[in-house]
Symmetry: C2
Subunit: 261 residues, 2 copies
DNA sequence: GCGTTTTGTGACGATCCGAGTCAACTACCG
DNA sequence: CGGTAGTTGACTCGGATCGTCACAAAACGC
């Protein structure tokens, strides 16, 4: 007999652990769902949790409201319904996140302007996208965006569209003729370029300039798992901005642009 | 100088820890929110995290997308906005809870009928209320509910009202004349009794009987923090049900009932 | 320049918690 | 009375986090 308890069993256990249950507790709860109810010995056999530890684990589950206990001899354990369990977690985390929002908001606010001197590094596709959206959201006059298509996600397009509605000039580069059509539908005001320049496909990421005073450049690092790493800077005299703006601006002025029909 | 960093600081740190950050990481992120940005030394002074450990902790934060780093000397760290951080958590937990719902649903379903032999124990006000609602939700012909008023919460009333709509007979006891009015408004079909008997106020909890085959009794244990503990049983021949049904039924038949006007 | 301070990195022991094992105590049954 | 099963508590182990230190590299003051 292999250890195999089926994909779903393992998945369920892992997810329950992510939500804060211990491994034993998670294994036992899932096993109980399948059993309907069971004694310590039955549980131990199925979950291969040491029988003598079933009691502690189940006690923890009971305290969190996931298991009922029948004080017979032997004790019998019964799980609450799946719906109850998930609702439990839902409530729990909604609460803590709400609390967190409140307490963080109550902290002394710092001025949000990033007239920073340094060059900042962000890693992780999500984190980079966040930063890009943040910048686009604060744009007042102009956004220049160039990236491989794979990074031109829906939320970016949405952000750009919102900016366009605020009368921010949008300049998009690196777009293939195919997707250009779609973009023009979503953001008719946008001006699209084929590409500002050819960058090596292997590490191509994005290049974003906002109001000519905030610039972000990213590459797709290829060490095993593909991740995105970006640097960004902000401010009239920020060194990264000064250097890249020069190149960037020159390119824009000399780029082949599509003519909107 | 006291260690005091203000209530909110401590609260925020605790909540971030609940959501999976280490203590160091949490302290540092909050401190950075207040600072706007800061070096390892500044952070160490404020948070009293050992300076040499700020680097590891911040690296972890960076990997999860909560902090940007400026690779100058000294390094400078910058937190993402509160909104970004909370959204991060929100997404994360919404995902895992969705996944959990799916995998739990995919598990072999067990018959939900609890024609059980044992007497089950539930502890915790929330858990008890859940069980009560579950039973009421499954009621087909009759629900008898008696409790101290403090335990007759809105969701219970709602559940009873829903049952009444399904043509389940509702019998409510232990209701003061005052709240009886409200109940009659919410559940006009309900029959209300003053009380089935006087129980000692100190430990009074609830008493629920559904379809004369599932019974739950609870007491409010008073060891320091007030908690609710209940036992329940189900099934025609369940011992708890057999015993209590006799008493219960007799009382109902002889109780002083209010006359609906 | 040159010595001092600051900054960054790595390593180390202490502590805590959960995982896993074991011995002992209790209750039931023949 | 002995055997079996149920239950509890104590113990070791391993990993993660906390807290401290030593040391090299870089920055700074004079």
């Amino acid at each position: 007999m292999s250890e195999g308890r089926g994909e779903t069993y393992v998945d369920a256990v892992e997810r329950l652990q992510k939500l804060g249950l211990t491994e034993y507790a998670a294994r036992i709860y899932v096993a109980l769902l399948q059993l309907g109810s069971g004694t310590a010995r039955e549980i131990a056999e199925i979950t291969s949790v040491p029988r003598t530890r079933v009691y502690d684990a189940v006690e923890a589950l009971q305290e969190r409201g996931f298991v009922d206990v029948s004080y017979a001899s032997p004790k019998v354990f019964r799980p609450v319904s799946r719906e109850t369990a998930t609702r439990q977690f839902q409530l729990e985390y909604d609460d803590t996140i709400d609390e967190l929002t409140d307490t963080l908001a109550a902290l002394e606010p710092t001025d949000t302007t990033h007239e920073q001197t340094g060059v900042w590094t962000v890693s992780g596709r999500e984190a980079v996208a966040d930063r890009v959206l943040e910048f686009i959201g604060e744009a007042e006059t102009e956004v220049v965006y160039m990236s491989v298509e794979q990074l031109l996600t829906d939320d970016i397009i949405q952000g750009l569209a919102a900016a366009a509605d605020r009368d921010v000039a949008i300049q998009l580069a690196g777009i293939s003729a195919a997707t250009r059509r779609e973009i023009e539908a979503a953001i008719p005001e946008a001006e699209t370029f084929e590409t500002l320049w050819e960058w090596s496909d292997t590490t191509a990421g994005r290049l974003v300039m906002v109001d000519r005073e905030t610039i972000l450049v990213s590459v797709l690092t290829n060490e095993e798992s593909p991740a995105e790493t970006a640097v960004w800077g902000s401010g009239e005299h920020n060194s990264l901005v000064v250097v890249l703006k020069a190149v960037f601006t020159w390119r824009i002025n000399h780029a082949d642009r599509f003519e909107n029909e």
